[in-house]
């Protein structure tokens, strides 16, 4: 039986929440980002559809957004409000399927396979869901329905806002064929740059390339691209559970030959990992580093800690040693990643005689609280600079238990 996977994506989420609680902003170009002052550094976190008309996009510097949209209303991020609104929406989503996989505050996959007898056909279900969210939360969302996560996501992106696109079983490849490759999830600017000389403009062009060639060009990732271009993605919809490992990696738009910058970026990623680790109430025994050198040569290495830890200072220490030992400073780096594995429930016996441990743990908790309130990029330790969002694409990977099975 073909699967029924639904991708739900809230439209201009942060901006909509702002318009919802401040009626005077409705129908106006609202730009959410940074401290809300366009003169300051920072990037656009979200733009209302009224602002997008002017060409304002997410991740664009605020100053540029101001130039594009003189009458734009700039609003600071309020993650607490977005989190609350998101929670309401997810409560509704859980009424439609027991299998809900949150991807972020405003995005989720639902597995509706086998629920037709109970719920009805997917399309009317999607309409009901969209109406219920609008009625209860006042928010618009777009929905894509397909037999796999990848195609459902492409479908939901296609007719925003308030879009509803259904791709029937067997029609996946035909649905993707005419779309530009930039619509394919995971296909970033540097992949596109490498595909263009081969005459690849659409996903159909990509699907027509031999798998062997893509494998040669991109390694493992090439084989994945080949499958994705044909609308094949067997990954299951997985509700969040205790992860087996947590990692973050970035692919740079331009290869980087700058060890201090690589180090800063990697340590920022590691702090992100630490935050997620603590959020799950886990501690890690193993710290890992991943580096991909130009053109596509990937290296991984790991270090084992004496005791499981969830503390930034201890993870950083182990990671720094990996960097010092394994980073080849003479080669341009395309991707760098930081991760932890061998996870177990956190249970750290505190010491009466060495009180610093509790203080350091308290510092991590305080930093986490700030990130939860003001966003992931709100604060970093002095050793690492704030990574420039426009520089790279960040991939969050919480490997779930089921993935291992």
């Amino acid at each position: 039986m073909a699967r029924v996977v639904m991708h739900v994506d809230l439209d201009a989420f942060y901006a909509s929440v702002e318009q919802l609680r401040r009626p005077e902003l409705r129908g106006k170009p609202v730009i959410v980002g940074g401290s809300g002052v366009p003169g300051e550094r920072g990037v656009v976190a979200a733009a209302s559809y009224e602002a997008r008309v002017f060409g304002v996009r997410s991740a664009m510097p605020l100053a540029r957004a101001r130039r594009l949209c003189r009458e734009g209303i700039f609003v600071p991020c309020d993650f607490k409000a977005y989190r609350d609104a998101s929670e309401q929406v997810f409560q509704i989503l859980h009424g439609y399927s027991p299998l809900v996989e949150p991807m972020s505050l405003d995005e989720a996959y639902l597995d509706l396979t086998g629920s037709q007898a109970l719920m009805g056909q997917p399309e009317p279900v999607a309409v009901r869901l969209r109406d219920e969210v609008k009625r209860s939360c006042g928010l618009d969302l777009s929905i894509g329905i397909a037999t796999c996560k990848l195609v459902a996501k492409v479908a939901s992106e296609l007719r925003k806002p308030r879009g509803l696109v259904v791709v029937n079983a067997g029609g996946e490849a035909a649905f993707l064929r005419p779309l530009p490759i930039s619509k394919l999830p995971g296909c970033g600017p540097s992949t596109i740059r490498r595909l263009e000389p081969l005459g690849v403009g659409t996903i159909g062009d990509l699907a027509a390339l031999p798998e062997l060639l893509l494998g040669e060009l991109f390694g493992q990732y090439g084989r994945l691209l080949h499958a994705h271009a044909r609308g094949i993605d067997p990954s299951p919809v997985m509700p969040p559970g205790d992860p087996k490992s947590i990692s973050r990696e970035v692919t740079f738009d331009q290869d980087v030959l700058d060890p201090p910058r690589l180090r800063e970026t990697a340590l920022a990623l590691l702090q992100d990992v630490g935050h997620s680790l603590r959020g799950h109430g886990l501690a890690a025994r193993t710290v890992a580093m991943k580096i991909r050198y130009y053109p596509f040569e990937t290296h991984s290495c790991q270090a084992t800690l004496t005791y499981p830890s969830d503390r930034d200072d201890e993870l950083t220490q182990a990671f720094t040693r990996l960097l010092d030992e394994h980073l080849d400073q003479s080669r341009p780096v395309r991707l760098i990643g930081a991760g932890v594995s061998n996870l177990e429930a956190r249970a750290v016996q505190l010491s009466l005689l060495e009180s610093r441990a509790a203080e350091r743990a308290a510092l991590d908790d305080r930093l986490d609280a700030l990130r939860e309130r003001y966003g992931e990029q709100a604060i970093f330790r002095g050793t690492s600079n704030r990574p420039q969002q426009k520089d790279f694409r960040r991939d969050d990977i919480d490997h779930l238990a089921a993935e291992r099975k």
Binding site: D242, R278, A345, A347, Q349, L350, S351, L353, E354, A361
Partner: protein, 371 residues
Amino acid sequence: MRLTCSAGVLGQGLHVVSRAVSSRTTLPILNNVLMQTADNGLQLTATNLEIGIRQTIPAQVQEEGGITVPARLLTDFVTSHPEEPLTMSLDKKTQSLSLKSARFDATIRGIDPADFPPVPAGVDGRKVKVDQTGLREAIEQTVIAASTDEGRPVLTGVYVQLNGGKATLAATDGHRLAVKTLAVEAEAGETDTIVVPARALTELGRILKTGEERIDVTVGAQKNQVFFKTGDVELMSRLIEGTYPNYQQVIPAQSTTTITTKTQDLLFTTKMVSLFSKDAANVIKFKTEGGKLTLTANTSEVGQNVAGVDAKIDGQDLQVAFNSKYLLDVLAILGTEEVQLGFTGPLNPGIIRPVGKDDYLYIIMPVRVAM
């Protein structure tokens, strides 16, 4: 050497001294018990070089002398032997001890007592007298907190501070701390501090009887030995060198949440709940909310157990986690009907006291977990 004694009395004596026999040693004679005739009977001595125990039992001595024989074999033989007179004689040439009774004629090969390490029969130094019952309780309540990790030897001991008519015993393994104060009979103005191996005190605790009788304690003038004497039993121990950590500074001055409850009830509940955290570092969570105390333990692979405890709760709501072993240890020896627990947050030390007594406190450091 030739003497006659009761098998039963000898068996009891061997039982006491053989606690000091080394279980693993590279020096074979330390597996032996030294038997020497004395004025009033037979003196039994054993040592593992850290502690030594000596007891004199009544015996009819016909000829003086001494021998060392394997403690294990002698003890097994004597304690299995019927309660009747036993005659011992030594063949000096072969260094073997013959034991004769109505039905048995045994010979045990020994080692020359001249090779036995000297165990002093008493030391010169500062003397105090302590009530046996009180000392036994103080030992029981403090040795639980001492470390068993030889990596930091000073923490394997109990820190004893003598101050006039008062002695304070403190022990910590870095995760918990026990402090007990008891009255001693000493010369006014006497002050001294020593670190006694917890193992020596544990053995002393087994020897001590409940009763009014006092025990003599002598700290050697060299400050490397301590000597305890009660009736016909003596125990000596070397002292641990090193600076004891300043434990006073970790004792919280006040608490933001206090819980008062029945000791036995909390002990029972903690035991029941902690069955579910054996594979998870024994972690047990305490939660106070709306005047109720809840104990929880869970392990994702095992399951969980949640229990309510009748308690009087003052102050802020709180969630804190502990190694349940540390809690069970203290609840088992607290000795009062009610216990009071004081906390100031999930990362700060908690304080446990027996209600109605101010001579004891136990500090326990939390485990940092996800709440």
